[in-house]
């Protein structure tokens, strides 16, 4: 892997980590059971990360092609 690929993978991993941390904390605000908080937070955080990565990744790629 070249340097750019390593940096891209690193940034994507950090993005997912931050999305998971924020998601678990956010879902803890409305729930009491810790197991439920962690499960729901991870599930929705991963979903948010994947969807936003797809939207911004594909959208950014298409925008770059168009420009």
């Amino acid at each position: 892997m070249n340097v750019q690929t390593v940096e891209l993978v690193e940034h994507v991993a950090l993005y997912f980590l931050l999305a998971l941390l924020v998601s678990v904390t956010y879902h803890g605000l409305r729930r009491e059971d810790v197991g439920d908080i962690v499960r729901t937070g991870i599930k929705r955080g991963l979903l948010f990360g994947l969807v936003s990565l797809f939207v911004f990744g594909v959208g950014g790629y298409l925008l770059a092609q168009w420009l």
């Binding site: 950090l14 941390l21 009491e32 059971d33």
Partner: protein, 167 residues
């Protein structure tokens, strides 16, 4: 389980019981109500000082540990990513410090401990580190609001004699 699903009377009664315990085990309900504000302020300040401490004082031990681990990890991860140079007030960093300062027990010691560190070389992950530590601080605002909501649950809207809600 959603807190909103709990009957309001039950939730308020639970908060009063917790207030009594925190204030030294008094049994008078009036005394518990009069000391409620002090307890709430203490818990919110504790949550500002150490993430999760407010929940711990309110008896929510599981959530307290969860928030402590999550927010401390996020803040320290940000510091590690930025090579311990992200908590500063000079140049354009003061705006980020406003966000970080909501995690008072970590941000202010970090500011004092790392004040001698200079930006002598390019920091490739400085922006990412700033983002992590600032997000940790802003998330602690949500945690402090949760402490307040746990200590003072909102009462259910008043109902008319016909059984309809006024609000």
């Amino acid at each position: 389980m959603y807190r909103g699903a709990l009957p309001a009377e039950e939730a308020v009664e639970g908060a009063q019981v917790r207030s009594v315990r925190l204030d030294g085990g008094g049994s008078d309900e009036t005394a518990a109500r009069s000391q409620g504000l002090a307890t709430v302020v203490l818990c919110v300040v504790a949550a500002w000082l150490v993430p999760g401490l407010g929940h711990w004082l309110l008896g929510r031990r599981g959530k307290a540990l969860l928030y402590f681990v999550l927010l401390t990890f996020t803040f320290l991860c940000g510091m590690w990513l930025a090579d311990f140079r992200n908590v500063r007030t000079d140049d354009d960093f003061w705006l980020y410090f406003v966000g970080e300062s909501f995690l008072g027990g970590l941000a202010f010691p970090a500011l004092w401990l790392t004040k001698g560190l200079e930006l002598v070389r390019s920091q490739p992950r400085l922006d990412v580190g700033l983002l992590f530590s600032t997000v940790a601080g802003i998330l602690n605002v949500c945690v402090m609001v949760d402490v307040y909501e746990t200590a003072c649950p909102r009462a259910a809207p008043a109902a008319t004699p016909d059984g309809e809600s006024i609000a």
